[in-house]
Each structure stands twice: as C-alpha cells, then as structure tokens.
C-alpha cells in the first residue's frame, strides 16, 4: 500500500517535470526567428523522446480509455481522449513537415529530402493548431496542474522558508 503510494508520488513528480519541460521547450522552439534555426530544430527533435516518455507515463489511462471509449464514459474523458489524439496527430505532422524543410538536423546527418513548397505552410499551420490544442489540453488538466504544483513546488518552498530555526541550547 505504502509502496504503491510512493510509486504514484514519484510518477506524478516525474510527470510534472516532463510536462513543464515539454511546455517550455515547445514555446522556445515555436519561435525560430529568435532562437535560431539550429536550436529550433535540435530542441524539437529532442522533444520526440520526451513526448514518448509523456505518453508512457499516461499509458494506463490511454489503454483504459481506448478499451472503454465505445462504451459508457463521461463526456469530459471522451473529449480529453479525442483532444489527445488530435495533439498526437498535430505533433506528428509538425515533426514530419519540420524534417522535410530541415536546414540543420538532416544536413548534419548527411540526409537530404526532396523539397516541396507545401511542407512549410503545413508546418506553420500544424504548429498554430498545436498551440491551441496545447491550451485546451492544459485547461482540461488544470486541476491536476494546480494540485501537482501545490504539492511538489509551492508547499516544499513554503516549508523551506517557514522552517523555524532550532532552539539555541547553548547558554
């Protein structure tokens, strides 16, 4: 029982760190004009691994809802599930179109792909869509975000600052 609780606690902590990293990295990568093409591309490529970890951490929820989707589940879970799939599709389109117009990662790896004028437009469109979906995703998980921040960031910080110094026993 206690072991299970510790496991869940650790998982929530890891989830929080991973999610904050994804959020910040995506926002930085979204502006290649300022960060530079190289940072934009390498950061976005590294996000693939982090996104896989994010999906792995929610694996039980995904499989449970996939099995029950046709049956009886509440509407918020259903919306959440569909939204997550849309996020996954938009993310995949961003990655693919990004690789197709890559100026840094693929040339570094010695690869070159045929150019097509449609990929740049698709890359921008899917990125803007992803930002909106990310907002909706955050909104639907807002209570979890607030709880996790309270428990693992604000409360430890408050405890650290409010900790009374030990009594001075020396006379």
């Amino acid at each position: 029982m206690i072991e299970n609780q510790t496991k869940t606690k650790n998982r929530t902590k890891i989830k929080l760190v991973v999610d904050v990293f994804i959020f910040i990295a995506f926002l930085v990568a979204m502006d290649p004009r300022s960060s530079g093409i190289a940072i934009h591309e390498w950061l976005a490529t590294s996000l693939i691994a982090v996104l896989v970890v994010h999906v792995l951490l929610s694996w039980d929820w995904i499989t449970r809802l996939t099995r029950r989707f046709i049956g009886k589940i509440n509407s918020q879970s259903r919306i959440n599930y569909i939204l997550n799939w849309l996020l996954f599709i938009a993310g995949s389109v961003i990655m693919l179109s990004g690789f197709m117009i890559s100026e840094s990662v693929l040339p570094f790896l010695g690869l070159s792909l045929p150019r097509n004028f449609a990929w740049r437009g698709l890359h921008e469109l899917s990125t803007n869509l992803f930002l909106v979906l990310l907002g909706l995703h955050t909104a639907l998980h807002w209570s979890w975000v607030v709880d996790a921040f309270k428990r693992y960031v604000f409360q430890p910080l408050a405890r650290m600052f409010s900790a009374k110094p030990g009594k001075d026993l020396t006379v």
């Binding site: 693939i48 694996w59 117009i101 990310l134 907002g135 909706l136």
Partner: protein
C-alpha cells in the same frame, strides 16, 4: 521489455500518422504541380539572399525570443482562463450553501 514494447507501439503510431500525411501531401501537390506555374512550384528551391535568413542574433534576438515566449504563454493562458473560469464559477453556483443560518 514491456516498456520497450510500448515505445515500439508509440513510434509505430507516429510512423503511421507521418506516412499518411506524407502520402496525402505528395498526392495533393503532385496534382497541383501539373497546374501551378513553374515559379510557384520552385518557390522553396529558389536561391537564398543575404538578409532573407529568418533568424536574428544578439540582444535583439533575445528580446524577440522573450516577446515570442510571452505571446505564446499568453495565448495558452487565455485558452485556459476561458475554460477554467466558467467551470469554477459553475461549480461554485452548484455547491450547497453551508453557512445558511435561516
């Protein structure tokens, strides 16, 4: 081993979505390239000129990066506020009044 299998499933799903997108885009642009003028087709292959590169460095770049970051956070914040505030207001309305003395 179980985690490895899950990673494989996730990457396979990525590959399927990417494959469908690739085929769709190529099919749609192949039919378009037959009708579009040559300069439109080669728009992405054209020569690059000095100053065209879409990135900036130095202090200006940092300020722009910060501005872009704030703008994107703002968009997400607005969406979150638009959904969570009405939701919490609705919850507050639906909650029973506990301190009613009458």
């Amino acid at each position: 081993m179980r985690t490895l299998g899950r990673i494989f499933i996730i990457l396979a799903a990525f590959a399927i979505v990417m494959g469908i997108t690739y085929v769709t885009v190529n099919a749609s642009t192949a039919s378009l390239s037959r009708t579009a003028p040559a300069f439109e087709r080669n728009r992405d292959n054209g020569p690059r000129f000095e100053g065209e590169r879409r990135e900036s460095r130095g202090a200006g770049g940092a300020v722009r990066l910060l501005f872009g970051f704030i703008k994107n956070v703002g968009i997400v914040a607005v969406i979150v506020a638009l959904i969570t505030i009405p939701k919490s207001l609705q919850k507050r309305k639906a909650a029973p009044v506990l301190n009613n003395k009458e």
